[in-house]
Structure formats: structure tokens, C-alpha cells
């Protein structure tokens, strides 16, 4: 079980045993009751969207956009096809929550998507699943087969006249496809390159038709909201930050894994749930929302609560809820070098500032890390980031720049030491011990 802990869980409640992902188990836990009720009572679609808006469910994929509001953008009287898409292309370094939702509770996603389809008037949907998690993709297909056999998806669902066909689409290794318009191009059988916006997907989405794209965890929360009411969901979190959230805790902690906690829970509580810092060492820094979120020094993050507003106020982003913990054995230059390599590797190449800029960022951080940094390199890094940010079609350019800006800002001394002394402030053997791979050397 990789959901290692929870406080008042909604998404992961009752997930015991190896068969928790099966339809029978899900139904025993009360699953599909929200969908059944809606289609039996023919609940007005406006009422559903209103309820989701009221719950203040904010997108769990990274941007935190209000879900109900997004659904309300869909044209109501559009005569042709409309689509609902689930974004399970989870490739933001540090994030591994959607994989566990699909592994342990796939029917909650299917039910959430079916409810969304009903609310926005879509008859077809796709779940775009990250390329590297083949076994999870196969499991989701099996869950779809179960739902189809039980008449919960497909034509004329439970005799209601409501049709919703749902399929899984398997990615094949491209971080950029987590960007929703790139994801749509990818489903169309093209290179996954982001589109200019506007038009937004609600007007021009998959195959040019109105489309709503939400994250896996977002869909997974929808059945709870309709079963228990928007107020119950909102009250579980804090104002403007409804509900619980899955946090993926990785890096230097004793028990890395997923934890479901109400938004607004102190970071210190989450860290404690994850077993504290590995080997009882000292916390140095934390990236609170996936690799694209600005890094925060220990003293800042220790004062934060885990919700969109608190993390934003501290100068970072809650993002996807991927908490990357770094202890005192971490060389911040090396950490940034690896992140910068990632964005350089994954830039789709469409926009010049990002394609060229990510290459510059990586090369300059690389040379600092390898003892060839120059006195004006930190200024150069800042200048490259400001020349990328806001000048690209999608957010990858910003995502590559924010780690650079924040690492250099908060750990400037460490970068300066590297440049001046041509070596690391943290000795290599200490860094090596930090990973815990060669246990004998710790």
C-alpha cells in the first residue's frame, strides 16, 4: 500500500486489501451512488456545476483552477460532440499521486468523469495515462471493462438514455503532454506541442470540439462532493481551499509515499507523518509543489500550512502537491543542475526562448557545478530566466525558470562558493551518504 497515511480521508477511505480497486469493492464502499442518483433523478446539469463550484474544488494537477468554473465554460447548446478528458500524464518530478489513485481507486475516477460528462453534456471521454506506468494503464482498462459490463459506462447508462463512452489513451514519454493542449494534440495522434490560447479547450478542444480537461485527483473528488455535499467538502479544508489533497512526499524522508490530508494542515504535521527527515538529519529545503514550484528554505516551509494560499504567500506554489524534501546533505547546485537538465530535455522545441533558454540554463548551472563557473554567471542565469518567462506559448518556460530563480535567490552563498572555490560546499561523500543507496557508507 503506497497510501501511507491520512487525516480525514475522502479519496482513499476504505482502501483495504488487494481488491479495493475492483468494481464490487468500490460499490460496497458506496461507489457509483452519486452517478446513479443523478441519472435516476435527472438532476439539472446547472445544479451539479453549482454544487462543484460551491465546494471550491480546485484543480489538483498543478494550476489550482476552480473545477466548477471550468465546467461552466462549456457551451451549453453546442450541437456537436463534446469531450471530457482526464489528465493522468503525471510526469512532474516529485508527483506520484495519480498513479496510486488509478491503482487503488480507479472507479472513483471513472465515476467522476461520468458525472462531469453528464454535467457538461459530453458523450465521450479519454483518460490520458502516463507512458511509464503500463501496469496501471492495463489496470485502468480492466476497471473500464468492469464498468462497461455493469452498464455504468457506454450507451444508455442504466437505461437512462445517457450515453458516455470512456477509453484509456496511453502516453509514451513526453512531459509536455501534461500541458492540456499538448495532451489534446497527442490524443489526435500528433507531436504533443502546446497550442496557442485562446481559444481554450472549452471552445476548441479535442478534434476542435468543446472539451474539459481535469486532473485524475480532481475527478476522483467529485463523487464525494455529490454524495456528501459541497459544504462537507469545503469544511474539510479551509476557506478558498476545499477538501483534502493527496501529497506525494519524496526525497530525504524516512517514509516517502502518498499522504491524504485536509488542505490547511501544517507542513510540520505532513513531515512527521512521512517519518521525519531521513536519519534524523536537519531539513535544508523543500520544493512544496513539484519541480516547477520555487524552492523554499527550511525555516520558511516549516511555518507554512499545506494549501494553495499559504504556499503562495510564502513565495511558492502548491502545484501538484509533490513535496520534495532535501536535507543538509544536499548540494543545491547539483539539485538545480538535475532539474535544469530535465526542462532542457523536455522542452518541446516550439518556442525559441524556451528551446534555447532551457539549454542555456542547464549549461550554465552545469558549469558552475563542475567548477567552471564564472563570476557573472548568477546574473547571467537571472537574465536568461527573465528572457524566457512570459514569452512562450505554454508554462514550461516559466516552470524551468522558477526553480533557477528561487535556488539562486535562497542559496546564493552556496552558488557563490561553487564559483569561487570550484567545489561543493557539501563534501561529495556527505552527499553520497544522503541518498542511502550504499548503506555501508552511511
Amino acid at each position: 500500500m503506497a497510501i501511507l497515511g491520512a487525516i480525514n480521508p475522502m479519496l482513499t477511505v476504505g482502501l483495504d486489501g488487494d481488491n479495493a480497486w475492483r468494481l464490487d469493492d468500490y460499490v460496497k464502499r458506496g461507489g457509483y451512488s452519486a452517478l446513479k442518483k443523478i441519472i435516476a433523478e435527472k438532476t439539472p446539469t446547472d445544479q451539479i456545476i453549482k454544487e462543484v463550484k460551491k465546494s471550491v474544488l480546485r484543480g489538483r494537477g498543478g494550476a489550482g483552477f476552480p473545477t466548477g468554473l471550468k465546467w461552466s465554460f462549456m457551451p451549453k447548446y453546442f450541437p456537436g460532440d463534446k469531450y471530457v478528458i482526464c489528465n493522468s500524464d503525471e510526469g512532474e518530478p516529485g508527483t506520484f499521486k495519480d498513479r496510486d489513485i488509478l491503482r487503488y481507486n480507479p472507479h472513483s475516477v471513472i465515476e467522476g468523469m461520468a458525472i462531469a460528462a453528464y454535467a457538461i453534456g459530453a458523450a465521450r471521454g479519454y483518460n490520458y495515462i502516463h507512458g511509464e506506468i503500463w501496469e496501471i494503464y492495463k489496470r485502468f482498462e480492466e476497471a473500464l471493462d468492469e464498468a462497461r459490463a455493469a452498464g455504468l459506462i457506454g450507451k444508455n447508462i442504466l437505461g437512462s438514455g445517457f450515453d458516455f463512452e470512456l477509453f484509456a489513451h496511453h502516453g509514451y514519454g513526453a512531459y509536455i503532454c501534461g500541458e492540456e493542449s499538448a495532451l489534446l494534440d497527442s490524443i489526435e495522434g500528433k507531436k504533443g506541442q502546446p497550442r496557442f490560447k485562446p481559444p481554450f479547450p472549452a471552445n476548441y478542444g479535442l478534434y476542435g470540439k468543446p472539451t474539459t480537461v481535469n486532473n485524475t485527483e480532481t475527478f476522483s473528488a467529485v463523487p464525494f462532493i455529490l454524495n456528501h455535499g459541497a459544504d462537507a467538502y469545503l469544511e474539510a479544508g479551509k476557506p478558498n481551499n476545499g477538501g483534502t489533497k493527496l501529497f506525494s512526499v519524496s526525497g530525504h524522508v524516512n517514509r516517502p509515499g502518498n499522504y491524504e490530508i485536509p488542505l490547511g494542515t501544517p507542513f510540520a504535521t505532513l513531515l512527521e507523518m512521512a517519518g521525519g527527515v531521513r536519519g534524523g538529519r536537519k531539513l535544508k529545503a523543500c520544493i512544496p509543489g513539484g519541480s516547477s514550484a520555487p524552492v523554499l528554505p527550511a525555516q520558511t516551509i516549516m511555518d507554512c500550512t499545506m494549501d494553495f494560499d499559504s504556499i503562495s504567500k510564502a513565495g511558492s506554489m502548491l502545484g501538484s502537491g509533490a513535496v520534495i524534501v532535501m536535507d543538509e546533505t544536499t548540494c543545491m547546485v547539483r539539485a538545480l543542475e538535475r532539474l535544469s537538465y530535465f526542462y532542457y530535455e523536455e522542452s518541446c522545441g516550439q518556442c525559441t526562448p524556451c528551446r534555447e533558454g532551457t539549454s542555456w540554463l542547464y549549461k550554465v548551472v552545469h558549469r558552475i557545478e563542475h567548477g567552471q563557473g564564472r563570476a557573472d554567471d548568477l546574473d547571467l542565469l537571472r537574465s536568461v530566466t527573465t528572457n524566457i518567462m512570459g514569452r512562450t506559448i505554454c508554462a514550461l518556460g516559466d516552470a524551468a525558470s522558477m526553480p533557477v530563480q528561487s535556488f539562486v535567490k535562497h542559496f546564493q552563498d552556496e552558488f557563490a562558493y561553487h564559483i569561487e572555490h570550484k567545489k561543493c560546499l557539501v563534501p561529495p561523500e556527505i552527499q553520497r551518504a544522503g541518498s542511502g543507496f550504499f548503506k555501508a557508507t552511511v
Partner: protein, 157 residues
């Protein structure tokens, strides 16, 4: 070019999309072709393109864009190790170094006997299980400490 079984798998993928949107199945079709052939020679990409009624260059664009397609032959077992930051903090880079030493090859190289190819991977969305590696794009191996790596290599002999 491909076996009947592979063609049937491709047909199942095509059926997921609207009838006039066969191109949507190109990613799956290329993956199926690669699974059968071990890698994607140009002829296979062209075959898939023709089967789906799209331009071969459009299928090639897809094959060359996504990281998990192999446009050159690889060993019998392709091992992709994630070295991204969260994995690195928990031994991902060390695991890759260990594999390089054990196999006597660097990233993007194949052992002389053709058994193993080593690749550096980007985030696989499994950071809590670091070090993480993927065997032939399909099988994910978690918490790969030296002992687990030794066992995996022995199993894949």
C-alpha cells in the same frame, strides 16, 4: 510486416476513437510495433502510417518526439533508470552508476552480447519508490537498492 496478433491489437486501439480519427491510434500502434520488433525501423513506421491512412512523415514525427520509442536497435532488455531530482535524493544516480559498473556500459550503450541497453530516464511518476527503473518500457521496478539490482540482472540473464 506485423503479425496478425499485433494487427488485432492495433485494431482494438483504432476502435477507441471516432471512425474518421484513426490517426489517434498512432501512438499505440507504434508501441505495439515496437513491442513485436524490439525497435522501430523506418519500414515499421511507414507500415503503421499506411495502415492508419496518415502521411509516413507524420507518424515519424510522433515516433521521434516521444522518448519511449526506439528508433535504433536496443538490447534484449532496455533498462531505463530515473535520475531526476526526487529519485537522485534517494539513490537514483547511484543506482545508475552501479548499473554502469555492473554492465560495463554507459547510458545509451548496449552490452556486447546484446542483452542490455542502459538509458537515463526522466520522471516516471513513482518518486516515492526511488530508485526506480523500467524494463522494456513496461515493467516498473521499485526501491532498487544494490541487492535488488543484482537480483534483477540475474533474472534477466
Amino acid at each position: 510486416m506485423l503479425t496478425t496478433e499485433s494487427i488485432q491489437k492495433i485494431d482494438r486501439e483504432i476502435a477507441k476513437y471516432p471512425p474518421d480519427r484513426k490517426q489517434s491510434a498512432v501512438m499505440a500502434a507504434l508501441a505495439i510495433a515496437q513491442e513485436e520488433l524490439g525497435w522501430l525501423p523506418n519500414e515499421a513506421i511507414e507500415f503503421v502510417a499506411n495502415y492508419l491512412g496518415m502521411e509516413p512523415i507524420a507518424a515519424y514525427e510522433v515516433a521521434s518526439f516521444y522518448n519511449m520509442y526506439d528508433l535504433k536497435p536496443v538490447g534484449k532488455h532496455k533498462l531505463t533508470v530515473c535520475t531526476n531530482l526526487p529519485c537522485m535524493l534517494s539513490g537514483g544516480v547511484d543506482a545508475a552508476e552501479y548499473l554502469k559498473m555492473k554492465l560495463g556500459i554507459d547510458f545509451n550503450e548496449t552490452t556486447p552480447d546484446g542483452r542490455f541497453t542502459l538509458k537515463e530516464g526522466e520522471c516516471m511518476g513513482a518518486c516515492g519508490d526511488a530508485p526506480v527503473m523500467l524494463v522494456n518500457n513496461r515493467r516498473m521496478c521499485s526501491c532498487m537498492q544494490p541487492e535488488q539490482i543484482d537480483n534483477l540482472l540475474a533474472e534477466l540473464e
